[in-house]
């Protein structure tokens, strides 16, 4: 079965119809998805601004990462759970929407960027922990993170429109 065929089947399952037609559940899931952005991206952006040397310059980078990333992960968990529920409610519409596809690519790239950062320059963070302005490679990772997550947010919002379907 093709991916589209699977999503067409998924759309007609009881849960999918139930969420789609609910009066309260859908708005609650949707609102939780949007509001957890303030937690998830708020924490990520704070770390990114520290990496760029424009925010929290007096706080060690490792402390910023260690103390804020768990909150970012908590926000991310809510985003993924609510996001999956939203996708489940309209799988075919999402799958065929260009913004949704770009959003998924954006999330993947943001993940790769974060992983690469942690496996490379961040391994030697103790060498530059207290620098008000971190080394160039850390700055690039912070800027890339801000850019990619912004693309994800914008595409998520634009998914409401089917301009290019």
């Amino acid at each position: 079965m093709s991916l589209l065929g699977f999503f067409e089947w998924l759309r007609n399952t009881g849960g999918s119809v139930g969420i789609r037609e609910s009066i309260l559940f859908y708005p609650i899931v949707e609102s939780s998805h949007v509001l957890s952005l303030a937690l998830f991206l708020g924490m990520i952006a704070t770390l990114d601004l520290r990496l760029l040397g424009v925010g929290l310059r007096g706080v060690p980078v490792s402390e910023t990462a260690d103390r804020l990333l768990p909150w970012a992960f908590a926000g991310f968990a809510v985003m993924v759970i609510t996001g999956l529920l939203l996708f489940y409610s309209t799988p075919v519409r999402a799958y065929q929407n260009i913004f949704f596809r770009v959003k998924m690519v954006g999330i993947a790239l943001a993940g790769v960027n974060a992983l690469y950062f942690h496996k490379t320059i961040y391994r030697r963070v103790l060498d530059w922990d207290n620098d008000p302005v971190p080394p160039r490679r850390a700055k690039v990772a912070g800027a890339a993170s801000l850019f990619l997550w912004s693309v994800v947010v914008v595409c998520g919002r634009m998914q409401a429109y089917n301009w290019f379907d």
Partner: protein, 155 residues
């Protein structure tokens, strides 16, 4: 006082017409509104988490609050300046939307709280219970603003 005539007039202003007549202006402003929300969330949470004893614990509250303040003000300014054209483009819908009025009420209280009580608590001597309480009220108020804001689309 009935605000309906005012709202009706607002919807006929140049900005309102420009946003309504454009296919992409409303979504683009919406996106900026959401990006500003993330920044506002970050600048509030860094301080409020600290007030509750989480997050950047080795930093003093006043030090963090001083650094987060310009970001909070900046993102608040961006939220309001993007929110106004969004509102202008559909004032009559907002007039009949209960969540809109809740949002405006919570927004007023949250903003006043941020620049009075919270400002004073974060600048002063650290008291654990007072700090935690301030943070809970702050986050609760801003959560109510965001939550009712999202519901303008539904009711």
């Amino acid at each position: 006082m009935d605000l309906y005539p005012l709202f009706e007039w607002l919807e006929s202003t140049t900005i309102a017409l420009a946003v309504r007549d454009s296919l992409w202006l409303f979504p683009v402003i919406e996106c900026m509104h959401l990006l500003a929300l993330s920044m506002l969330g970050g600048s509030l949470l860094v301080v409020d988490l600290r007030l509750m004893g989480f997050g950047l614990k080795s930093q003093s509250v006043s030090h963090l609050a001083r650094q987060a303040h310009p970001w909070m003000v900046g993102s608040l300014v961006m939220m309001i300046s993007t929110g106004i054209p969004l509102f202008l483009s559909e004032t009559i819908k907002c007039y009949y939307s209960p969540p809109f009025w809740y949002k405006m009420g919570f927004l007023a209280i949250a903003t006043i709280f941020a620049f009075t009580v919270r400002r004073k608590v974060t600048a002063g001597e650290e008291k654990r219970l007072q700090g935690a309480l301030t943070a809970v009220v702050s986050l609760g108020l801003w959560f109510a603003v965001g939550f009712s804001g999202r519901w303008i689309a539904f009711y």
